[in-house]
């Protein structure tokens, strides 16, 4: 769930991308949860036509989802069905990272892929036909000239899960009591929010999401091996298609809506961060081995926040590593050493798959993605404490995170700050980095007779830090908007050139900082 400032930032993004009325609608959904149309009208004071348009924009851009709610009949009243809307806050916030998505897909698939993704991001949802038309228009060519190349490229994007079919427009949500997300398994952390509930109700199965359009299946020469990318469910579907292939292809091209699969981009960014970390913490070989493992198992991940990768044999890892630019010269021996290093490190990057189950699984390995992410978060938090409060506070923070609960006197001794310990503790307490608990020895809670135990509640800290990050990001973008606005008003003697120079520097600094800050937000919220 996004934090308080996360929601605020989401609304601000909608404002700057789609204007005031869409933002109003978005705000009512973000802050009030799911709402039916009349309620949104009441909160926003807009007329229904205007409102519908705003909702369409939000849905088109995957920022909101409609769904049907079944109401049980009460008394003599019959059962009825109404439509409600919900904001997809996480998707809204993904708008911050569109530049990152483009860089990623360009590096992985190429320029044309980047252009296609760019178009999709810009329009939210499009048919294959629209994508082809856009490419043609931009290249100044006829549709017929670009169609094959675009389809080819689109096929690559699809087989890599960068794009997906749009979810059902209005899924039905059964009354809350029998909450069972119909398709995807809920995330390991348990409680699923309303947003996720609706999303999973709307989400097609993986087979449907990435089902290849008919017009691509019959295209020769694409690198799509139907054998390995077509799950059984899809085959059945295909058989059920009684339509003549040509008609089907045309319908597919004109009617099926596609969108960018954010989840895949997030997953890849997450993997990149893990690989980079291991590369710098252990060494380059270990980094490459990890990259190979993640490449080999990426498609089998069921969630963007996958706890650990699925087990994979060292042979498969070897093949995968050899496909990497840095892994071409990898020998079996070096791979073995690299794996050993990863598995024996106290950070627990990798473990043997059979170990836990006590099975002799052979040489199967898993990447403990969550451990790497947790470690990265912890390091980031420690850096923040160090920058904000200095070395002593950071030492105290680490001490408490390590030892659990301690009294002031013990902290002073162990952190070697006997004199200032009280002051340092209160600094951290004030900004919620640590907590204190009073254990009264007397019923009257006489302060001098009570024991005060200090501790770090890491979950709370991570949440707080994330909220601060959203807050800072929101401030950055507000300041940027403010600077741009101010620039239009000024009318002084300085030369135009000077103004342009200044504002472009400000823009560069603010935008770059925002993107960097978003890296940290990704780490704390999406990974």
């Amino acid at each position: 769930m996004a934090t308080q400032f996360g929601r605020k930032l989401a609304c601000e993004l909608i404002f700057s991308h789609f204007g005031e009325s869409v933002q109003k609608v978005c705000e009512s959904l973000v802050y009030r949860g799911q709402l039916p149309l009349p309620e949104i009208a009441r909160y926003t004071g807009m007329n229904i036509t205007q409102l519908r348009n705003c909702l369409l924009v939000l849905i088109q851009h995957n920022c909101a989802q409609a769904f049907k709610v079944e109401h049980e009949g009460v008394g003599s009243a019959p059962q009825r069905v109404s439509t409600s809307y919900i904001a997809l806050t996480d998707n809204i916030l993904h708008r911050l990272r569109f530049p990152k998505f483009l860089v990623l897909v360009k590096e992985d698939v190429g320029d044309q892929a980047e252009a296609l993704i760019e178009g999709l991001l810009e329009h939210g949802r499009q048919t294959l036909e629209q994508l082809i038309q856009r490419a043609a228009a931009r290249g100044g060519k006829a549709v017929g000239e670009v169609a094959t190349a675009v389809k080819d490229c689109f096929g690559k994007l699809l087989s890599n899960h960068y794009v997906e079919r749009c979810p059902a427009p209005e899924p039905s949500l059964r009354p809350k009591i029998a909450v069972e997300p119909p398709k995807k398994t809920p995330p390991a952390n348990g409680a699923i929010g309303e947003e996720q509930r609706v999303m999973s109700a709307a989400a097609p199965t993986d087979a449907e999401r990435f089902q290849v359009p008919v017009s691509l299946i019959n295209m020769g020469g694409t690198d799509m091996e139907m054998g390995d990318t077509t799950p059984i469910g899809q085959k059945r579907k295909r058989e059920a298609l009684q339509m003549d292939t040509k008609t089907a292809a045309a319908v597919d091209e004109k009617e099926v809506l596609w969108r960018v699969n954010y989840e895949e981009f997030i997953r890849r960014l997450r993997h990149q961060v893990c690989v980079a970390f291991v590369r710098s913490r252990v060494d380059s070989v270990a980094g490459t081995v990890l990259e190979g493992m993640l490449d080999a198992t990426r498609r089998l991940e069921t969630s963007a926040k996958q706890h650990s990768s699925v087990p994979v044999s060292s042979d498969t890892i070897m093949n995968s590593v050899r496909n990497l630019p840095l892994g071409q010269g990898m020998t079996v021996e070096r791979l073995r050493v690299g794996l050993q290093q990863l598995a024996s490190d106290s950070a627990g990057y990798v473990s043997r798959a059979g170990e836990r189950a006590g099975l002799a699984e052979g040489n199967q390995y898993v990447v403990n993605l969550h451990k790497i992410i947790e470690l990265l978060r912890q390091i980031e938090v420690e850096g923040i404490v160090l920058q904000r409060y200095g070395r002593e506070c950071c030492r105290i923070f680490r001490l408490l995170a390590l030892k659990g609960q301690l009294e002031q006197k013990q902290i002073g001794e162990r952190a070697m700050v006997p004199k200032d310990v009280r002051e340092l503790l209160y600094q951290l307490l004030k900004d919620h980095y640590i907590q204190v608990q009073e254990i009264a020895k007397t019923t009257e809670h006489v302060a001098s007779k009570s024991i005060h135990l200090w501790r770090v509640n890491m979950r709370a800290v991570l949440h707080q830090v994330l909220d601060d990050m959203y807050h800072a990001a929101s401030n950055l973008s507000q300041r940027l908007a403010h600077e741009l606005e101010k620039e239009q008003e000024v009318n002084d003697t300085k030369s135009i050139q000077e103004h342009v120079k200044r504002i472009s520097r400000i823009t560069t600094v603010l935008e770059a900082s925002l993107l960097k800050l978003d890296d940290a937000i990704l780490l704390f919220h999406d990974f």
Partner: protein
């Protein structure tokens, strides 16, 4: 009479020497059965007055011990109250004793205690010492004693004040050694610092451990269990904890703290239309002035 007194005095001193643990009253009585009680009394008084003899209570019985001559000179002229206070202070050893406790222990009036302390202090027999735990509270201990760690705070305290600078010097030296050495045990580090001669203060392994622990907490070094022997010392066993440069230093920058809001003291008060806002913020203004 005078000669008998002299003989008795000598006899008592002999007995004291024969019972170096202290001469109980009972033994004295038995040994001096044929001497008149009056003479014994006079002899004891004489010896006590001359500070040649000390009297103690051991459980229920009275015990005598000879005062050596040097000590006798030391205590010459002190009143019995002074001695009472002195003995209570002596018992407190290097932890020292507080005046309120002295009063309780000796059953004397505050004034008497103060007077005795003044006497003892002026003769350099006892001294007042400030304690780290409570700066305004003085404790007394024998002049020749070094105050205990509870009183002084230990090696890191100079004059009962925490000496952060000294700690830092030692810390840097330890870090320097570990980085140079690559891998070092606690003993190696202690040895090198002692040899470096940067300090006259006697540091124990305990104190070095404390230093290394803070270096670990600072993310400068990390512990490794086992590892190769790093010096000529006893071979490093598998369980030996060694220290080396940390592979995960605490980052010196972060995305959040690189923008003004990340280190802003009023972040939590900052609102778009508030008194403090991103539009009017002076930190931003400075940051965006090139």
């Amino acid at each position: 009479m005078a000669s008998r007194l002299g003989a008795t005095i000598n006899k008592i001193l002999d007995l004291c020497r024969a019972h170096s643990q202290g001469l109980p009253q009972k033994v004295l009585d038995e040994e001096l059965q044929e001497v008149e009680v009056e003479i014994i009394k006079q002899s004891l008084n004489f010896l006590l007055q001359k500070q040649k003899l000390q009297v103690f209570m051991q459980g229920e019985s009275i015990v005598y011990r000879e005062q050596d001559t040097e000590a006798a000179a030391k205590f010459k002229g002190l009143t019995s109250e002074d001695m009472l206070v002195y003995q209570a202070i002596q018992q407190a050893a290097n932890t020292g004793i507080w005046t309120a406790d002295l009063k309780k222990r000796t059953n004397l009036q505050q004034l008497q205690v103060n007077k005795a302390l003044k006497n003892l202090e002026s003769r350099s027999l006892v001294k007042p010492v400030k304690t780290v735990s409570n700066k305004n509270r003085k404790v007394y201990m024998l002049f020749e004693l070094d105050p205990s760690r509870e009183v002084t705070g230990g090696a890191w305290y100079t004059e009962q004040d925490y000496d952060a600078e000294f700690v830092d010097v030692v810390k840097q030296q330890c870090l320097h050694f570990i980085l140079k050495q690559g891998l070092a045990s606690l003993e190696d580090v202690a040895e090198s610092v002692r040899r470096s001669g940067i300090t006259q203060v006697e540091l124990r392994l305990e104190e070095f451990k404390q230093i290394l622990d803070t270096l670990v907490l600072d993310g400068d070094i990390e512990e490794v269990v086992g590892g190769a022997p790093s010096s000529s010392h006893a071979p490093v066993s598998f369980e030996t904890v060694c220290y080396r440069a940390s592979r995960s230093r605490i980052p010196e920058t972060s995305a959040l703290t690189s923008v003004p809001c990340g280190i802003c003291p009023v972040l939590r008060e900052c609102r778009p239309d508030g008194l403090i806002s991103p539009q009017t913020c002076i930190y931003f203004k400075d940051w965006l002035t090139f």
